[in-house]
Amino acid sequence: MKSHVWRPLYIVLLVIAGVLVVRKIIVPADFGIGARGYMYGWHRPSNEQDWKMVKVKYKTREYCKECHQDKYDEIRQSPHANINCENCHGPALGHPDDPKTLTIDRNRELCARCHFRLEYPTSGRGKIRGIDPKTHNPQLECVTCHWPHDPRKEGHSK
Protein backbone atom coordinates (compact mmCIF):
# COMPACT_ATOMS: atom_id res chain seq x y z
CA MET A 1 0.00 0.00 0.00
CA LYS A 2 1.64 3.20 -1.17
CA SER A 3 0.50 6.24 0.67
CA HIS A 4 1.83 9.55 1.88
CA VAL A 5 0.57 8.51 5.32
CA TRP A 6 2.83 5.45 5.52
CA ARG A 7 6.08 7.00 4.32
CA PRO A 8 6.71 9.13 7.48
CA LEU A 9 6.06 6.03 9.58
CA TYR A 10 8.94 4.20 7.90
CA ILE A 11 11.20 7.13 8.71
CA VAL A 12 10.09 7.05 12.37
CA LEU A 13 10.77 3.31 12.53
CA LEU A 14 14.18 3.84 10.95
CA VAL A 15 15.06 6.52 13.51
CA ILE A 16 13.99 4.25 16.39
CA ALA A 17 16.06 1.38 14.99
CA GLY A 18 19.01 3.76 14.60
CA VAL A 19 18.77 4.93 18.20
CA LEU A 20 18.64 1.33 19.43
CA VAL A 21 21.71 0.37 17.39
CA VAL A 22 23.69 3.41 18.57
CA ARG A 23 22.65 2.69 22.16
CA LYS A 24 23.86 -0.88 21.82
CA ILE A 25 27.24 0.33 20.59
CA ILE A 26 27.76 3.19 23.05
CA VAL A 27 26.45 1.70 26.32
CA PRO A 28 28.97 -0.75 27.82
CA ALA A 29 27.79 -4.36 27.93
CA ASP A 30 27.95 -4.62 31.72
CA PHE A 31 26.15 -1.35 32.38
CA GLY A 32 22.95 -1.91 34.32
CA ILE A 33 21.14 -1.91 37.64
CA GLY A 34 23.20 -3.42 40.40
CA ALA A 35 22.01 -4.98 43.63
CA ARG A 36 20.77 -1.64 45.00
CA GLY A 37 17.94 -1.04 42.54
CA TYR A 38 16.98 2.00 40.47
CA MET A 39 17.76 4.65 43.06
CA TYR A 40 21.37 3.71 43.83
CA GLY A 41 22.25 0.87 41.50
CA TRP A 42 22.94 2.18 37.97
CA HIS A 43 26.57 1.74 37.06
CA ARG A 44 29.26 -0.07 35.10
CA PRO A 45 30.78 -2.70 37.45
CA SER A 46 34.04 -3.00 35.46
CA ASN A 47 34.89 0.58 36.52
CA GLU A 48 35.91 -0.81 39.93
CA GLN A 49 38.86 -2.48 38.21
CA ASP A 50 39.88 0.83 36.60
CA TRP A 51 40.21 2.39 40.05
CA LYS A 52 42.17 -0.56 41.40
CA MET A 53 44.70 -0.06 38.58
CA VAL A 54 45.72 3.41 39.82
CA LYS A 55 49.46 3.46 40.50
CA VAL A 56 50.60 3.44 44.12
CA LYS A 57 53.07 6.28 44.65
CA TYR A 58 53.69 6.22 48.38
CA LYS A 59 55.08 2.80 49.26
CA THR A 60 55.33 3.26 53.06
CA ARG A 61 58.34 2.87 55.35
CA GLU A 62 58.28 -0.91 55.02
CA TYR A 63 59.40 -0.50 51.42
CA CYS A 64 62.23 1.90 52.39
CA LYS A 65 63.37 -0.55 55.07
CA GLU A 66 64.30 -3.16 52.46
CA CYS A 67 67.45 -1.17 51.54
CA HIS A 68 67.80 1.51 54.22
CA GLN A 69 67.51 -0.61 57.35
CA ASP A 70 69.98 1.64 59.25
CA LYS A 71 67.95 4.81 58.64
CA TYR A 72 64.75 2.95 59.46
CA ASP A 73 66.14 1.73 62.79
CA GLU A 74 67.44 5.18 63.68
CA ILE A 75 64.17 7.03 63.18
CA ARG A 76 62.04 4.27 64.66
CA GLN A 77 63.66 4.59 68.09
CA SER A 78 63.59 8.42 68.02
CA PRO A 79 60.84 10.87 69.02
CA HIS A 80 60.11 11.13 65.27
CA ALA A 81 59.32 7.39 65.10
CA ASN A 82 55.87 7.80 63.60
CA ILE A 83 56.86 10.08 60.75
CA ASN A 84 56.93 8.23 57.45
CA CYS A 85 60.08 8.50 55.31
CA GLU A 86 58.05 9.67 52.32
CA ASN A 87 56.62 12.67 54.19
CA CYS A 88 59.99 14.45 53.78
CA HIS A 89 61.73 12.40 51.07
CA GLY A 90 58.80 12.40 48.65
CA PRO A 91 56.92 9.43 47.19
CA ALA A 92 59.10 6.41 46.38
CA LEU A 93 57.25 5.71 43.09
CA GLY A 94 59.63 3.42 41.16
CA HIS A 95 62.63 4.31 43.32
CA PRO A 96 65.49 3.34 43.02
CA ASP A 97 65.12 2.84 39.23
CA ASP A 98 62.78 5.74 38.58
CA PRO A 99 63.39 8.20 40.18
CA LYS A 100 67.02 7.38 40.96
CA THR A 101 67.30 10.06 43.63
CA LEU A 102 64.45 11.44 45.68
CA THR A 103 63.93 15.14 46.25
CA ILE A 104 64.34 15.73 49.96
CA ASP A 105 62.28 18.63 51.26
CA ARG A 106 64.57 20.53 53.64
CA ASN A 107 62.40 23.65 53.75
CA ARG A 108 61.83 25.33 57.09
CA GLU A 109 58.15 25.28 56.20
CA LEU A 110 58.16 21.49 56.23
CA CYS A 111 59.32 21.31 59.85
CA ALA A 112 57.05 24.21 60.77
CA ARG A 113 54.00 22.17 59.78
CA CYS A 114 54.26 20.70 63.26
CA HIS A 115 56.84 22.90 64.98
CA PHE A 116 55.36 26.34 64.37
CA ARG A 117 54.25 27.07 67.92
CA LEU A 118 50.48 27.17 68.23
CA GLU A 119 49.33 27.11 71.84
CA TYR A 120 46.08 25.33 71.25
CA PRO A 121 45.18 23.87 74.63
CA THR A 122 42.59 21.32 73.45
CA SER A 123 44.60 19.94 70.56
CA GLY A 124 47.67 17.73 70.24
CA ARG A 125 49.38 20.70 68.57
CA GLY A 126 49.66 22.52 71.88
CA LYS A 127 51.83 19.72 73.28
CA ILE A 128 54.44 19.89 70.49
CA ARG A 129 57.56 21.95 71.16
CA GLY A 130 57.55 24.76 68.67
CA ILE A 131 59.21 27.96 67.56
CA ASP A 132 58.38 31.10 65.63
CA PRO A 133 60.32 30.74 62.35
CA LYS A 134 60.52 34.53 62.04
CA THR A 135 62.69 34.88 65.14
CA HIS A 136 64.27 31.42 65.48
CA ASN A 137 67.50 31.53 63.39
CA PRO A 138 65.84 32.81 60.22
CA GLN A 139 67.37 31.78 56.88
CA LEU A 140 69.05 28.69 58.37
CA GLU A 141 67.88 25.22 57.41
CA CYS A 142 66.54 23.36 60.42
CA VAL A 143 68.83 20.39 59.68
CA THR A 144 71.87 22.61 60.32
CA CYS A 145 71.27 22.19 64.03
CA HIS A 146 68.63 19.47 64.34
CA TRP A 147 69.02 15.96 62.95
CA PRO A 148 65.54 15.02 61.68
CA HIS A 149 66.02 11.24 61.91
CA ASP A 150 66.62 11.68 65.61
CA PRO A 151 65.97 15.21 66.91
CA ARG A 152 67.90 14.42 70.09
CA LYS A 153 71.12 14.46 68.03
CA GLU A 154 73.01 17.43 66.58
CA GLY A 155 72.39 18.41 62.99
CA HIS A 156 74.64 17.91 60.00
CA SER A 157 76.18 20.31 57.53
CA LYS A 158 75.76 19.49 53.89
Partner: protein, 261 residues
Protein backbone atom coordinates in the same frame (compact mmCIF):
# COMPACT_ATOMS: atom_id res chain seq x y z
CA UNK B 1 -28.92 -28.73 56.79
CA UNK B 2 -26.27 -26.84 58.77
CA UNK B 3 -26.78 -26.53 62.47
CA UNK B 4 -26.21 -23.35 64.41
CA UNK B 5 -23.43 -25.05 66.36
CA UNK B 6 -21.50 -26.27 63.31
CA UNK B 7 -21.97 -22.90 61.53
CA UNK B 8 -20.37 -21.08 64.45
CA UNK B 9 -17.60 -23.67 64.67
CA UNK B 10 -16.75 -23.53 60.97
CA UNK B 11 -16.91 -19.76 60.67
CA UNK B 12 -14.61 -19.35 63.68
CA UNK B 13 -12.20 -21.86 62.13
CA UNK B 14 -12.17 -20.03 58.81
CA UNK B 15 -11.80 -16.60 60.43
CA UNK B 16 -9.00 -17.91 62.62
CA UNK B 17 -7.31 -19.57 59.68
CA UNK B 18 -7.43 -16.39 57.63
CA UNK B 19 -5.92 -14.43 60.49
CA UNK B 20 -2.72 -16.50 60.34
CA UNK B 21 -0.47 -14.77 57.85
CA UNK B 22 1.19 -16.89 55.22
CA UNK B 23 4.58 -15.73 56.43
CA UNK B 24 3.96 -17.42 59.79
CA UNK B 25 3.90 -20.81 58.07
CA UNK B 26 7.22 -20.27 56.31
CA UNK B 27 10.10 -22.44 57.40
CA UNK B 28 13.22 -20.34 57.94
CA UNK B 29 16.66 -21.33 56.85
CA UNK B 30 19.01 -19.88 59.49
CA UNK B 31 21.86 -19.61 56.97
CA UNK B 32 19.74 -17.52 54.61
CA UNK B 33 18.67 -15.25 57.47
CA UNK B 34 22.28 -14.72 58.51
CA UNK B 35 23.27 -13.98 54.93
CA UNK B 36 20.48 -11.40 54.64
CA UNK B 37 21.52 -9.72 57.87
CA UNK B 38 25.16 -9.66 56.80
CA UNK B 39 24.27 -8.75 53.19
CA UNK B 40 26.87 -11.30 52.12
CA UNK B 41 29.79 -8.89 52.29
CA UNK B 42 32.78 -9.49 54.51
CA UNK B 43 34.18 -5.97 54.15
CA UNK B 44 32.70 -2.52 54.81
CA UNK B 45 35.32 0.20 54.93
CA UNK B 46 34.88 2.86 57.59
CA UNK B 47 37.09 5.70 58.77
CA UNK B 48 37.92 6.94 62.25
CA UNK B 49 39.21 10.46 62.92
CA UNK B 50 40.56 11.43 66.33
CA UNK B 51 40.36 15.22 66.53
CA UNK B 52 42.31 15.24 69.80
CA UNK B 53 45.36 13.84 68.02
CA UNK B 54 45.30 15.96 64.85
CA UNK B 55 47.89 18.76 64.92
CA UNK B 56 47.05 20.29 61.54
CA UNK B 57 50.35 19.45 59.84
CA UNK B 58 48.57 18.80 56.54
CA UNK B 59 50.80 15.90 55.46
CA UNK B 60 47.60 13.96 54.75
CA UNK B 61 46.43 16.59 52.27
CA UNK B 62 49.83 16.81 50.61
CA UNK B 63 50.09 13.04 50.33
CA UNK B 64 46.54 12.65 49.05
CA UNK B 65 47.02 15.17 46.27
CA UNK B 66 50.18 13.45 45.04
CA UNK B 67 48.91 9.91 45.44
CA UNK B 68 45.61 10.57 43.67
CA UNK B 69 46.94 12.91 40.99
CA UNK B 70 44.86 15.90 42.04
CA UNK B 71 46.63 18.97 40.53
CA UNK B 72 48.83 20.22 43.35
CA UNK B 73 48.35 23.94 42.91
CA UNK B 74 44.66 23.93 41.98
CA UNK B 75 42.53 24.92 44.94
CA UNK B 76 40.69 21.59 45.07
CA UNK B 77 41.40 18.59 47.26
CA UNK B 78 39.85 15.25 48.16
CA UNK B 79 40.59 15.70 51.85
CA UNK B 80 41.29 18.77 53.91
CA UNK B 81 41.86 19.89 57.49
CA UNK B 82 39.83 22.61 59.17
CA UNK B 83 41.11 24.72 62.05
CA UNK B 84 38.62 25.79 64.69
CA UNK B 85 39.15 28.35 67.42
CA UNK B 86 36.40 29.26 69.87
CA UNK B 87 37.29 32.52 71.57
CA UNK B 88 36.19 33.90 74.93
CA UNK B 89 33.72 36.27 73.26
CA UNK B 90 31.79 33.24 71.99
CA UNK B 91 32.88 33.55 68.37
CA UNK B 92 33.99 30.54 66.33
CA UNK B 93 36.82 31.06 63.87
CA UNK B 94 37.21 28.49 61.10
CA UNK B 95 39.71 28.32 58.27
CA UNK B 96 41.38 25.86 55.95
CA UNK B 97 43.75 27.73 53.61
CA UNK B 98 44.42 25.58 50.50
CA UNK B 99 42.71 22.75 52.38
CA UNK B 100 45.67 22.85 54.81
CA UNK B 101 47.94 21.45 52.11
CA UNK B 102 50.83 23.42 53.67
CA UNK B 103 49.64 23.07 57.25
CA UNK B 104 48.91 25.97 59.59
CA UNK B 105 52.00 28.11 60.10
CA UNK B 106 50.40 31.29 61.40
CA UNK B 107 48.13 32.32 64.24
CA UNK B 108 46.12 34.38 61.74
CA UNK B 109 42.88 32.94 60.38
CA UNK B 110 42.20 33.16 56.66
CA UNK B 111 38.80 34.89 56.39
CA UNK B 112 38.73 34.96 52.59
CA UNK B 113 39.37 37.57 49.91
CA UNK B 114 42.99 37.79 50.97
CA UNK B 115 42.09 39.02 54.45
CA UNK B 116 43.35 37.58 57.71
CA UNK B 117 42.20 37.88 61.30
CA UNK B 118 44.64 37.40 64.13
CA UNK B 119 43.29 35.25 66.94
CA UNK B 120 45.42 35.71 70.03
CA UNK B 121 46.30 32.70 72.13
CA UNK B 122 45.06 34.32 75.35
CA UNK B 123 41.58 34.82 73.82
CA UNK B 124 41.15 31.16 72.90
CA UNK B 125 38.89 28.92 74.96
CA UNK B 126 39.41 25.91 72.72
CA UNK B 127 41.14 25.39 69.44
CA UNK B 128 41.57 22.20 67.46
CA UNK B 129 41.84 20.66 63.99
CA UNK B 130 39.25 18.53 62.18
CA UNK B 131 40.24 16.50 59.12
CA UNK B 132 37.45 16.01 56.58
CA UNK B 133 37.05 13.51 53.78
CA UNK B 134 34.31 11.61 51.96
CA UNK B 135 31.94 9.92 54.40
CA UNK B 136 31.21 7.00 52.01
CA UNK B 137 27.58 7.23 53.17
CA UNK B 138 25.33 4.19 53.29
CA UNK B 139 22.63 6.35 51.68
CA UNK B 140 24.81 8.37 49.31
CA UNK B 141 22.85 11.38 47.97
CA UNK B 142 25.51 11.90 45.30
CA UNK B 143 24.79 8.45 43.87
CA UNK B 144 21.05 9.01 44.02
CA UNK B 145 21.14 12.25 42.01
CA UNK B 146 23.47 11.07 39.23
CA UNK B 147 21.37 11.11 36.05
CA UNK B 148 23.64 8.79 34.05
CA UNK B 149 24.78 6.17 36.56
CA UNK B 150 28.38 7.38 36.56
CA UNK B 151 28.77 7.25 40.33
CA UNK B 152 27.99 4.21 42.41
CA UNK B 153 28.80 2.35 45.60
CA UNK B 154 30.93 -0.76 45.63
CA UNK B 155 29.98 -3.81 47.69
CA UNK B 156 32.55 -2.79 50.32
CA UNK B 157 30.94 0.59 50.74
CA UNK B 158 33.18 2.96 48.76
CA UNK B 159 31.52 5.46 46.42
CA UNK B 160 33.38 5.69 43.10
CA UNK B 161 33.05 7.86 39.98
CA UNK B 162 33.20 6.33 36.51
CA UNK B 163 35.32 8.88 34.64
CA UNK B 164 34.40 7.51 31.23
CA UNK B 165 30.69 7.86 31.94
CA UNK B 166 30.43 11.11 33.96
CA UNK B 167 28.99 13.97 31.90
CA UNK B 168 30.09 16.65 34.38
CA UNK B 169 26.60 17.95 35.15
CA UNK B 170 27.53 18.71 38.75
CA UNK B 171 24.36 17.41 40.44
CA UNK B 172 26.44 15.27 42.79
CA UNK B 173 28.66 18.22 43.72
CA UNK B 174 25.55 20.16 44.74
CA UNK B 175 23.95 17.10 46.34
CA UNK B 176 26.75 16.24 48.75
CA UNK B 177 25.94 17.82 52.13
CA UNK B 178 29.60 17.58 53.13
CA UNK B 179 31.01 19.49 50.16
CA UNK B 180 33.39 16.66 49.43
CA UNK B 181 33.00 16.58 45.64
CA UNK B 182 34.56 18.91 43.10
CA UNK B 183 35.36 19.13 39.41
CA UNK B 184 38.62 17.54 38.41
CA UNK B 185 40.48 20.33 36.59
CA UNK B 186 42.13 17.89 34.17
CA UNK B 187 39.51 15.24 33.48
CA UNK B 188 36.52 17.64 33.74
CA UNK B 189 34.46 15.10 35.66
CA UNK B 190 33.26 14.84 39.25
CA UNK B 191 36.05 13.89 41.64
CA UNK B 192 35.97 12.69 45.22
CA UNK B 193 37.83 10.80 47.93
CA UNK B 194 37.59 7.05 47.34
CA UNK B 195 39.51 5.86 50.43
CA UNK B 196 42.45 5.30 48.03
CA UNK B 197 40.63 2.35 46.49
CA UNK B 198 43.78 1.23 44.69
CA UNK B 199 45.58 0.97 48.03
CA UNK B 200 42.94 -0.56 50.30
CA UNK B 201 42.13 -3.21 47.68
CA UNK B 202 45.82 -4.25 47.84
CA UNK B 203 45.79 -4.56 51.63
CA UNK B 204 47.48 -1.19 52.14
CA UNK B 205 46.10 1.75 54.10
CA UNK B 206 44.96 4.99 52.51
CA UNK B 207 47.71 7.52 51.85
CA UNK B 208 46.32 10.00 54.40
CA UNK B 209 46.43 7.29 57.09
CA UNK B 210 50.02 6.42 56.19
CA UNK B 211 51.05 10.09 56.09
CA UNK B 212 49.59 10.84 59.53
CA UNK B 213 52.31 10.63 62.16
CA UNK B 214 49.88 11.14 65.03
CA UNK B 215 47.35 8.36 64.49
CA UNK B 216 44.57 10.90 63.99
CA UNK B 217 43.31 9.07 60.90
CA UNK B 218 42.55 5.37 60.79
CA UNK B 219 40.75 3.10 58.37
CA UNK B 220 39.07 -0.17 59.26
CA UNK B 221 36.56 -2.83 58.34
CA UNK B 222 33.39 -2.51 60.43
CA UNK B 223 32.32 -6.06 59.52
CA UNK B 224 35.35 -7.47 61.34
CA UNK B 225 34.67 -7.43 65.09
CA UNK B 226 38.40 -7.82 65.85
CA UNK B 227 39.43 -4.78 63.83
CA UNK B 228 40.86 -2.17 66.25
CA UNK B 229 38.89 0.59 64.51
CA UNK B 230 35.65 -1.38 64.86
CA UNK B 231 36.38 -1.91 68.55
CA UNK B 232 36.77 1.83 69.12
CA UNK B 233 33.61 2.67 67.18
CA UNK B 234 31.66 0.07 69.15
CA UNK B 235 32.96 0.95 72.62
CA UNK B 236 33.79 4.65 72.61
CA UNK B 237 31.74 7.82 72.18
CA UNK B 238 32.02 8.49 68.48
CA UNK B 239 29.98 10.90 66.40
CA UNK B 240 29.31 11.53 62.73
CA UNK B 241 28.83 14.74 60.75
CA UNK B 242 25.34 15.99 59.80
CA UNK B 243 23.48 12.92 60.96
CA UNK B 244 20.19 14.77 60.45
CA UNK B 245 20.54 14.47 56.66
CA UNK B 246 19.92 10.72 56.89
CA UNK B 247 22.90 9.88 54.71
CA UNK B 248 24.32 7.37 57.23
CA UNK B 249 27.91 8.63 57.03
CA UNK B 250 30.66 6.10 57.74
CA UNK B 251 33.43 8.42 58.88
CA UNK B 252 33.39 8.45 62.66
CA UNK B 253 34.87 11.22 64.80
CA UNK B 254 36.24 11.21 68.32
CA UNK B 255 36.03 14.54 70.08
CA UNK B 256 33.50 16.44 67.93
CA UNK B 257 31.80 19.50 69.36
CA UNK B 258 28.78 21.48 68.16
CA UNK B 259 30.98 24.07 66.45
CA UNK B 260 32.05 21.49 63.89
CA UNK B 261 29.74 21.38 60.91
Amino acid sequence: MISRRSFCKKSLLIAGGLAVPLAALELFDPKRLLAEKEDGNKVRWVFLVDTHKCVGCGFCVKGCKTENEVPYDANVTRTWVERYAVTKDGKTHIDSPKGARDGFETTKFDIGEGKFEDVKNEDIDKAFFVPKLCNQCDNPPCVQVCPVGATYQTADGVVLVDRTWCIGCGYCIMGCPYGVRFFHPVYHVAEKCNFCYHRISKGMKTECVDACAFGARRIGNIKDPNDPVTKIIMTERVNVLKEEYGTKPQVFYLGLTKEVR
